[in-house]
Amino acid sequence: MSNDRTRILVVDDEEIVRESLGGWLEKDGYTVAVAPDGPSAIEKIKAERWSILIVDLKMPGMDGLQVLEEAKRLQPELAVVIMTAYATVDTAVAAMKAGAYDYLVKPFDPEELSIMMQKIVSQQTLVRENLVLRQALKQEYRFRDLLSKSPAMQALFELARTAAKSNSTILILGESGTGKEVLARAIHAESPRAEGPFVGVSCAALTETLLESELFGHEKGSFTGALARRKGKFEQAHGGTLFLDEVGDIGPKLQLDLLRVLEERKFHRVGGNEEIEVDVRIVAATNRDLRKAAQEGKFREDLFYRLNVIPIVIPPLRQRREDVPLLVESFVERLAVEMKKRLDGVSPDAMGALMAHDWPGNVRELRNVLERGAVVATGVVIQLADLGMPSRGDAPPKAGTMASLEEVEKRHVAAVLAHTGGNVSQSARILGIDRVTLYNKMRKYGIRRDGEADEAAHEPAGSTGR
């Protein structure tokens, strides 16, 4: 085992201790530096990375425990050994509570020091190796921004990788929040068109006329408000990928227009005569059963077959629960970076609840729940209570419970919104009403998109800093 990568900082106000301990450790091949007091040690910790900090408990000014706390804040992985002149249970307990690796009573046995240093070095080596292995493993479970170790998803990644290389139209099917757009972006990034643009359009968000102009562009004066010529998404995506989200929601006229473009790769701008030819790869997505819609005559069958060249079905999260811990780890890591907050993960009972949940809003819902947890968590580990997941008490009243119809409706709307992770379109579909009606009900009952009561939105922003 090589010690030359291990950097030790010795902090003691007595020069003779710094000299003798530093000299002893140098002969063991460690890189050693010394500091005579807390503040200068902290400066050294701020400036450089250290593996081990050996610090005297009693020093004038900043004592060893204060140095320990500040050092752990700056470099959490640092192993800190406290030196004390007298072995008292109190000092030992205080040191260990503050996060010390161990403590040594001065003077200590050479064998004790030697064994302790070797133990720290081999543990740190193991941690490093573990990190490298875990990262390598994560790469195996990864397809760009998608992460999964379930066999079904691994097969999906394989299919997507192969499909990405072709120019064929891809139809991504899956429930809301499963990551259809993330997959579309990954396919684009893996395709020979990666250098070209990725242009996305949500077909459900716009009226038919607006969507037509959005997709194909328009000439100046083609309709009221068309003040200038505008390029549509098809033109913008030239040389790249056009992602048509919620393609199942488009109306009959646009279905026909779309079919023509897919067949001929040519179209006209709204109000224009010029035929425009584009080189675009189509990736479409929907959470509807498009085949069934085609059979029922609600969606053009010929368009369905044009889109359904390479269908890729993303399974819902509840069918691949083994991915929950992997996704949790990945999201928590990302949230920690985004929020500039130290987060080590979730508590075991929180993980249990996350594993048990059905995730109707899929990965998006999981991310939202974790984001809430990360904001609310007061420690470095997200607790079950931080997640605010619906518990039994929040469930709609059982049949026979006395409650007004309005009360039942309010609770049910809130529960559905919470379950879809705030997806209004999906919630409206589940409730069997249109989105406008749902918005009206949300306004009436004072419910936010996440299903929470609206008054909570007025809580002071500083409440996260508890």
Binding site: P110, S114, I115
Partner: protein
């Protein structure tokens, strides 16, 4: 080639066989003349009455000041040695410096049981080890190498009295052809 001087600085009468063995091993390990340095002075100022041990760092400084003007000097003593932070040391050296010191005090464990040869071997190993530090060698990861760390006599007994090939190579580099 600068010699290595060996100086008995113990309080008891020198035990010639012990020191002769040290001479032979140092000469073999470092390939240079090993000469005796006999003076009546003793580093009594290094004695710490509270710990009832000798401070090895003080002895090293004293060896440098009082000993030969050139080459390396190894003090051999029968007094128990310590550095302030540790309960005891078998010896100490100035890393890449001139002086080194070794003591028989802590090497006597089990000697009565297994015979004096054990002490002779242990002392020679620790002498080569400390002089190795004075030449700039640090602890070696090869368990059999004399430069491997030996915080207790068990490790001293387990290692050989020779430098491993790697440490011999490093020593050549450190000496830069001297």
């Amino acid at each position: 080639m600068m010699p290595i001087f060996v100086w008995w600085i113990g309080e008891e009468e020198v035990e010639r066989d012990l020191v002769d063995h040290v001479h032979r091993h140092l000469a073999a390990a470092f390939q240079r003349p090993v000469l005796p340095w006999d003076r009546p002075e003793r580093p009594r100022h290094a004695f710490d009455p509270r710990r009832r041990q000798h401070l090895s760092g003080a002895i090293l400084r004293w060896l440098g000041e009082t000993g030969p003007r050139e080459g390396k000097v190894l003090g051999v003593t029968d007094r128990d040695l310590f550095i302030p932070i540790l309960t005891y040391v078998f010896g100490e050296a100035q890393l890449g410096g001139r002086a080194a010191v070794v003591s028989t005090a802590r090497l006597l464990e089990d000697v009565e049981l297994f015979g004096r040869k054990l002490l002779v071997e242990r002392l020679a190993k620790e002498a080569v080890h400390e002089v190795g530090h004075a030449f700039g060698l640090v602890h070696c990861g090869t368990p059999a190498c004399v430069m491997s760390r030996s915080p207790a006599v068990r490790e001293v007994d387990e290692k050989s009295s020779d430098l491993c090939a790697e440490c011999r190579g490093r020593l050549r580099e450190l000496n830069g052809g001297t």
